[in-house]
């Protein structure tokens, strides 16, 4: 499976300059622009996303952070008016190469959304769906293992192990979100994108997701868009601040939240008029 993907990789490679204090880059972007029709929604964004770390995108509504996140698995392809320029590389592979299989890309780059969106199927089927369509499991037993281990990694297994055949939509909001994370993990992605994954959850469910994110970063590269600056400060190692389509500032999370260099970052995170 992995070999197939590797063979499909075009020869074009994208390299980054190693940055201090971070793990090597998993995702590299160079001069990325996104246009929605005439609107220039994202302007010349160049940033490295370190592997097996959590990178947070923050910024006011409409700043382009979700738009940028959606470039990483080419979700913007589904919007006909959207146009993306520049380069985005994952492990050196140009993901906008026309010969690239988008379905395979999305298996490598999973996504979790703001509102939990389990399929109207059983808990088991929610997790088994991805591995099944990607042909990852050779047997029913193997599929069972994938489902159980994905639910375990998502911190949900103990709560649902006796009712795997019940509907996923019957779970609480926080459980549904963890189910969606399990579903994303099940196809063995390397990168997980999270677009405000806790904004519809209560504080306890939020804490569980944050704890989970902290565990997941040992094995996955995580990019999270969040409106909660405290959440960005808690869960991420790297933070990037966007404003009006510009990447204003990026750096170690500790630095961004205690001593940002840019005036606009300072004003935004301290709740001042920007």
């Amino acid at each position: 499976m992995e070999a197939m993907v590797a063979d499909a990789r075009p020869s074009a490679t994208i390299r980054s300059v190693p940055s201090e204090g971070f793990k090597p880059a998993k995702v590299i972007t160079q001069d990325v622009n996104v246009y929605y029709g005439q609107k220039h929604a994202l302007k010349h964004v160049t940033i490295d996303i370190p592997e097996r770390s959590v990178t947070a995108f923050i910024g006011p509504s409409g700043c382009g952070k979700s738009t940028f996140l959606r470039c990483f698995n080419r979700m913007n392809d589904t919007i006909s008016a959207a146009r993306v320029t520049g380069k985005i590389g994952i492990d050196g592979l140009d993901i906008y190469d026309p010969s690239l299989d988008v379905v395979q890309l999305r298996a490598r780059v999973g996504m979790v959304f703001q509102k939990p969106n389990p399929f109207p199927k059983s808990i088991y089927e929610n997790v088994a769906y991805g591995p099944r369509i990607h042909g990852i499991a050779a047997s029913k037993a193997e599929l069972d293992d994938i489902v159980a281990s994905s639910l375990r990694k998502a911190g949900l297994f103990e709560e649902v192990k006796d009712r795997l055949n019940e509907s996923g939509t019957g779970l609480s909001g926080g459980q549904q979100q963890r189910l969606c994370i399990a579903r994303a993990i099940a196809v063995g992605p390397e990168v997980i994108l999270m677009d405000e994954p806790c904004s519809a959850l209560d504080p306890i469910a939020t804490a569980k997701i944050e704890e989970l994110i902290d565990e997941l970063r040992e094995n996955f590269t995580i990019v999270i868009v969040t409106h909660s600056m405290q959440q960005a400060a808690r869960v991420s190692q790297k933070t990037a601040f966007f404003h009006l389509g510009d990447l204003v500032e990026e750096g170690p999370t500790d630095m961004i939240f205690t001593n940002p260099k840019e005036r606009r970052t300072q004003d935004y995170i301290t709740g001042r008029f920007g």
Binding site: Q230, F257, T258, N259, P260, D267, T270, G271, R272
Partner: protein, 238 residues
């Protein structure tokens, strides 16, 4: 810096900074009064310093409560966070300066009625003048958010340390000259040490102001010049 979207946030921050400036003024007054009371052996003035310290303590508690509450309610970030942490630390240093001035004032009652030639206290008066300048300057640096002034204040603490070491020798000499001086000089020595410690608190405040303004912690590479603990007392017995 522009204002917060939530106006009450600004009011709270301003209120805390105001209380600290007030505390600074009170601590300066206590230092002046305690040393004046010491030199003149004025127990009445000394008592007023001791009373003022209670006020300073309660103001410190107010700052502490206000900063903790602000952190809990507003989750401050960046410059705001540094402002609030600095306010908390500075208030503790000022409160300690008040304690040290109070300690000086407490000795006045002990000296009262004993042999106390005025000239012996001149050195203590002098070191207290320098310490007072430092305290005043550092409170100004805090209210003016002046990191350059803060650095200069930090460097000047050496003067106090050196002066303390020489004062230590001087007081030893007085004690050797005339054993009747021993009681007074011992009290003066403790007072001098208290004043030297006040200088250290001024330095702490300066370092905090520097952090508040720049976001950088100063490295702890400042030379310490209080060598009194290494100074031998030579009684000329050999």
């Amino acid at each position: 810096m522009s204002e917060h979207i939530v106006a009450a946030y600004d009011d709270e921050l301003t209120g805390i900074a105001g209380t600290i400036a007030e505390m600074g003024g009170l601590a300066e007054r206590m230092l002046v009064d305690s040393v004046t009371a010491l030199v003149r052996v004025d127990t009445h003035l000394a008592q007023s310093v001791i009373t003022t310290d209670l006020r300073l303590d309660s103001m410190q508690r107010r700052v502490e409560e206000a900063t903790i509450s602000l952190i809990a309610r507003r989750q401050p970030m960046a410059r705001d966070l540094r402002d609030i942490v600095t306010a908390l630390r500075v208030s503790i240093d000022i409160e300690r300066i008040g304690d040290l001035a109070k300690n000086i004032a407490k000795r006045v009652a002990a000296i009262d009625g004993h042999f106390h030639p005025k000239r012996l206290a001149l050195g203590v008066e002098h070191i207290s003048d320098i310490a007072l300048e430092q305290v005043k300057a550092v409170i100004d640096a805090y209210t003016g958010k002046d990191s350059v002034a803060a650095l200069a204040i930090r460097d000047r603490d050496n003067e106090i340390d050196q002066m303390y070491t020489s004062l230590f020798r001087e007081l030893l000499t007085y004690m050797m000259e005339d054993p009747r001086n021993i009681t007074f000089c011992t009290h003066l020595l403790f007072c001098a040490k208290n004043i030297e410690r006040i200088g250290d608190h001024a330095t702490n405040i300066a370092e905090n102001v520097y952090y508040q303004v720049t976001g950088q912690q100063l490295a702890d590479d400042r030379p310490k010049l209080d060598e009194s603990s290494l100074t031998p007392a030579d009684f000329g017995t050999r």
